[in-house]
């Protein structure tokens, strides 16, 4: 059936079926768009690097405190190709990036890829666990408090507003004092063992849960009044069933989109949390590189984060279709 003719099964009298492109076409378009965004991000990184007032040759030779000689500077410029014209360096930067070569750290004289790949694991684990934990906290909180009378609702939304507004670094310090020092339930710092993961993950998860809870609650309140909720009730579903099986699903949609969007804030938070808990990961690498103006490492981490952001948001679009059956049938009808 051609997608332009209204179908009876789709309720042609009420609305024309949504015109959708073939799924693979949309997917290809999205992937191409993502590549363009990454290329532009890389270009922006390059331009910012060019704007840097510092001399990279001095940074490579250990900063101005090292007092490199004129000859050393000349050699370094030659070896790193710093004297080449801008366009040539830009071309080299982009083609290296495309092949996964992020250059050499000024500080450690090691390939940036090696530095990052050694440290990326714990950070990814932290981000993944805390995002999951945020949902585990946000969903029951919404289910238990949304649309259940004034007192419960405002308790829930107050809690969410508080956690959404708390800076992760302060929350981290408070949790550290209370649960690690005073109560002694968790190890204070260090390591990547599972019990050392819980406090950092909680530090990141609580603000995210507050944020997701706020969005989910709004949508939940709206969902309770939707026709599908009313029809489920008339079919004899209990209130809890309506909330759990019908309204919650509807209410999770904006939260899912925003999880992809919030992955940026979560990564920012992860940098801080890793510093607070002295947890190995990209945070330590990045902050160390920033304070030593080790630009290749900073660019490398930034590009990696941009890549994660773009990939996660592509995945979120897919997840959206899985959670919302309305989009699935619309896709099949086309």
């Amino acid at each position: 059936m051609s997608s332009a003719t209204p179908s009876i099964t789709h309720g042609g009298a009420l609305e024309a079926p949504p015109r959708r492109r073939l799924p693979w076409q949309t997917a290809v378009k999205r992937v191409l768009g993502a590549i363009v965004v990454l290329w532009a991000a890389a270009t922006l990184c390059f331009v910012l690097q060019e704007l840097s007032p510092g001399d990279p040759a001095i940074a490579i030779l250990g900063g101005s405190g090292a007092r490199p000689t004129e000859q050393q500077l000349e050699q370094t410029n030659e070896r790193y190709g710093l004297n080449d014209p801008v366009l040539e360096r830009y071309g080299r930067f982009i083609s290296n990036l495309a092949t996964g070569d992020l250059g050499t750290s000024y500080q450690y004289k090691q390939p940036v890829t090696t530095l990052i790949s050694e440290q990326v694991g714990p950070t990814l684990v932290l981000i993944f666990v805390s995002t999951a934990l945020a949902w585990v906290i946000a969903v029951p909180l919404t289910l238990l408090t949304a649309g259940r009378g004034r007192a419960r609702s405002s308790f829930g939304s107050g809690l969410e507003a508080f956690f959404a507004g708390v800076p992760p670094y302060w929350l981290g310090l408070v949790l550290l004092v209370v649960f690690a020092f005073e109560l002694g339930w968790f190890p204070v710092t260090g390591g990547t063992s599972p019990d050392a993961l819980l406090l950092p993950a909680l530090t990141l998860a609580l603000p995210l849960a507050g944020f997701l809870g706020q969005v989910t609650r709004d949508e939940f309140d709206r969902g309770l009044k939707q026709p599908f909720a009313i029809s489920a009730r008339t079919r004899g579903a209990s209130e809890n069933e309506v909330r759990r099986r019908h309204v919650l699903r509807h209410a999770m949609l904006p939260g899912i989109t925003l999880t992809g969007w919030a992955i940026g804030a979560t990564i920012s938070g992860a940098v801080l949390v890793e510093i607070i808990y002295a947890r190995p990961g990209l945070g330590q690498v990045l902050v160390n590189a920033v304070s030593n103006q080790d630009l290749p490492v900073v660019v490398g981490v930034t590009m990696l984060v941009a890549l994660i952001y773009v990939v996660v948001n592509l995945l979120v679009d897919l997840l959206y279709v899985i959670v919302d059956p309305r989009l699935r049938t619309a896709g099949r009808a086309a």
């Binding site: 310090l173 990045l286 930034t302 941009a306």
Partner: protein, 299 residues
Amino acid sequence: MSTAIDPNAIGAPLPGGAPASAAGSRLSARVRGVRPAVALSVLFLALIVIAAIVPSLLTKGDPLGVNLAHSLQSPSLEFPFGTDQSGRSVYTRVIYGARESVLIGLGATAVGLGLAALLGVAAGLGGKVVDGGINRLLEVLFSFPGLLLALFLVAVFGSGVSTQIIAVGIASAPGYARMIRGQVLQVKGADYVIASKALGHPPSRTLFKNILPNAFRPLVVLATLGVGQSIVWASALSFLGLGVAPPAPEWGAMLDAGKDYIQTAWWLTLFPGAAIVAFTLAASCLGRYLQRRIEGETY
């Protein structure tokens, strides 16, 4: 005291403005339900403004005066927030820290909003090519999380207060720009703009008298919400040791200095952090209140 007047000044028109009609009493009940939080926020923000302008009104101490005899004392009557490793009163330092923290927050918000206004208005009025270009740029900037973009800028330009303000400002600009663009597009199609054009007013007059004032109205709300967020991110930079240097009484720098003593002296991190949290919550509470009022006026 002058601080006691402020909440009333804002709260007063509300109960008066909602007489006891059926719908009105429901509205006033809702407004009354919100008021204590808003009043408390305004009171707290007023206190912070006083601390920023004349800190000596609220504390007699010296934020930098070292007294090793008093080092690392827990909170007491003499030192309500305790003392740090050099015997300086944490309370005095939090009060004096208001100026630097708030100025950095305001500066960063101003940089962010200024840049965003430029981009947003250009995108909203510049036609398809400019709009498309700016939208792509914003999309790219969105793929750098705020703190990372700020860290990148610090890496490029070196750490310090001015970089801190500019970096946080630039990092927050894309979000604002998108909102301003939407607002400009909305206002551009409004009847009064069409009327102004139909009356034959020159485009510059329509722009400055009709489009910009109306497009920028929601900025009051954005700015209020934004100052709180800017302070959070700016003090995050200080906390990482990339902003204000530690002896200066800035809230983020105090957190950074305090975290080395966290095992023994929790008050060094609790109170500056609480100041940041309270400021953010108060700013967002006031911001949402203003938002409701502005929306109530225009729609």
